[in-house]
Amino acid sequence: MDQDMVRLIEPLIPALRRYARALMRERAAADDLVQDCLERAISRWHQRRHENDARAWIFTILHNLAMTRLRRAAQRPVHVALDDVDAAHLSHAASQEDGLRHRDLLAALAQLPDEQRTVLLLVTVEQLSYAETAQVLEVPIGTVMSRLSRARERLVRLMSAEPRAALSPPYLRSVK
């Protein structure tokens, strides 16, 4: 049974890390989240209903943990080291130009409401089906579709708007 779990879940770990990174933005926080998720998955594996596919099942666990943490973090004054959030973290391999475009993209992505950002990431980056996405988010497929439309439209608008005009959250930056 454990072998079953390893066979089904282990190949998903890089994707879990990717979704966690997109939501938490900072590497250590994202990996910490994935670790929590895997621990929960191990303890609940036997309760899993087998008609549900493993990918949607484990993404649901990860998503719920992430939302709890993000909500908790939102209730406190935010104190993010800008350098840690930098898009450069995500695009070491990318060219400088790509890096800049990615930075704008991530800044715009950060401005989407959670419900739109998560749908967009699950569908486009994780390439979950609409049905799987609906399962992860625990909403009807119709809701997934309308959030997806709104997310795409809004992201295009944000990307074409004045660069970096947005309000920045409180942050901490090393100046010397």
């Binding site: 938490m24 840690d84 070491h92």
Partner: protein, 259 residues
């Protein structure tokens, strides 16, 4: 024969490859006839490609060993029949993991409980409370500077220099002892000719006894904080960061000179 109307769901479906071949052809034909919509869908496609490429490097990273599923399962199985030594070992591991976990939280969304980040928040709070106060912004006025210094020395446990920012156009108004999460702090207030106020907060630092200067932004209050020699300093104000920064540098220079 008229076909079913094209919906936004169809357009998303085209991008996400969920349409059957027949519907796919219908939607493609619709886009050929509607260049505006086609342009929007092209943008969506570019957006999808960019999102994928922005996060692609994460997939290439080697998975950290803490995320080894086999090891996690193994640890869990071993934990079941629990001999006493294993409890002790687990306790040690937990303490280590707690430390590491705490360490890994540095710099992310959660505010640090101590160190210059906490100092910056406390300075911001003092600024927000006392700077708008028109009745008693300070308890001891500049004329009684010596009394203020005696008071802060007793409460802080060591003498705290009062930087002179006159050259930059800010007069010393006076100060008071204020409460922070980390005990008493000396608060000094300055203002310029237009009545714009700044607050300087000084307190002993258990964490980060020496720290380089950092900028903290919370709402419209900027602050520059640093620590030298066990004392933390934070200069906070509603002034722009590039205006505040040289003032903080000047204050730090004077404090170091006096030390």
């Amino acid at each position: 024969m008229s076909s079913r109307p094209i919906t936004e769901d169809d357009l998303n479906g085209l991008l996400d490859g969920t349409l059957d071949p027949h519907r796919h052809a219908e939607v493609s034909a619709y886009l050929d006839a509607h260049p505006d919509v086609a342009r929007r869908i092209t943008l969506y496609g570019e957006q999808r490609d960019m999102l994928r490429s922005a996060f692609a490097p994460v997939i290439e990273e080697p998975v950290p060993s803490e995320l080894s599923l086999l090891r996690m399962i193994e640890d869990r199985r071993r934990a079941r029949p629990t001999p006493r030594w294993a409890i002790a070992a687990a306790a040690v591991l937990l303490v280590c993991a707690g430390g590491l976990g705490g360490w890994s939280l540095r710099g992310m969304g959660l505010p640090a409980a101590a160190g210059v980040q906490a100092l910056a928040r406390e300075a911001t709070t003092s600024f927000s409370v006392y700077a708008p106060d028109d009745i008693h912004p300070v308890e001891v006025r500049a004329e009684e500077r010596d009394a203020l210094q005696r008071w802060t020395t007793i409460r802080i446990g060591r003498p705290v220099a009062i930087p002179d920012l006159t050259a930059a156009g800010y007069r010393f108004m006076g100060g008071r002892v204020v409460a922070t999460e980390h005990g008493p702090a000396a608060m000094y207030m300055y203002d310029d000719d237009r009545g714009t106020r700044l607050v300087m907060l000084v307190r002993p630092m258990q964490a980060d006894p020496k720290a380089p200067m950092v900028l903290h932004v919370q709402g419209n209050v900027n602050s520059f904080s640093w620590a030298d020699n066990g004392l933390g300093y934070s200069l906070a104000g509603a002034a722009p960061a590039d205006r505040l920064h040289p003032l903080a540098n000047e204050a730090r220079r004077q404090v170091r000179e006096e030390a």
